[in-house]
């Protein structure tokens, strides 16, 4: 029997099949997979790569809490959650979530819950590198404030 909870920060590339294999079960008729990838533009600036860093001990603890909460909200769900740290190139997977459940709705909802909570509270930061050679830490709260204006 595979461990139903598979949660970690990793320096290694995230492979979709590993996430799927971590949650797949004959009792589950649905697997929802979410991958976050490095995009080539942000706020109108051309991005060449992203460096992720984390408060490792706390980030893994919060990630486990989120998975525990999702498991309580969506009983029977089997979740895997991996997040990269270090330097990533365009197109690389920064975060991967697989959620398996006997039925599709809880599988989809559990993956959605997990990514939204991760973005809200897990202590991970990213520094974008731009084509002009500069780099900057991303502050999503500043962007939200601008959008609200």
């Amino acid at each position: 029997m595979k461990d139903p909870v598979h949660v970690a920060l990793t320096h290694d590339p995230i492979h979709a099949q590993e996430l799927i294999d971590a949650v797949a079960s004959h009792s589950c008729g649905a697997i929802s997979l979410f991958l976050g990838t490095v995009r080539d533009v942000n706020d109108g600036r051309a991005v060449t790569g992203i460096e992720y860093s984390a408060y490792v001990a706390m980030a893994e603890r919060e990630m486990r809490s989120i998975v525990d909460e999702a498991t309580q909200r969506f009983p029977g769900v089997r979740l895997a959650l991996l997040h990269r740290v270090g330097r990533l190139e365009l197109g690389e997977v920064s975060v991967g979530i697989a959620a398996a459940h006997p039925h599709r709705t809880p599988a989809l909802d559990a993956a959605r819950y997990t990514i939204e909570e991760l973005k809200r509270r897990v202590p991970i930061w990213k520094r974008e590198q731009y084509t002009d050679g500069t780099r900057e830490w991303v502050d999503p709260t500043a962007r939200r404030a601008e959008v609200a204006l």
Binding site: M58, K119, W125, K126, V138
Partner: protein
Amino acid sequence: MTVRVLLFASYADAIGSPELTLDVPDGARVSDVVERLRLLPGADRLPPAPLVAVNAVYAAAGSALAPGDEVAIIPPVAGG
């Protein structure tokens, strides 16, 4: 008593170090540590009430600290 302060990302860049040790009075609270930090050179980029975690758990500004606590000042998170 002393507490260990961890700084990350833009806050570590602002203060010029990812970690420092602070001497604070017994009974000091999270907000006292933040006030002390904001006196350091470069710390004007720290907000008056940043997110803080004590021993890897989010903590309120009024939380009391114990000797040796690990106080992490958490910049706006940007995972995903």
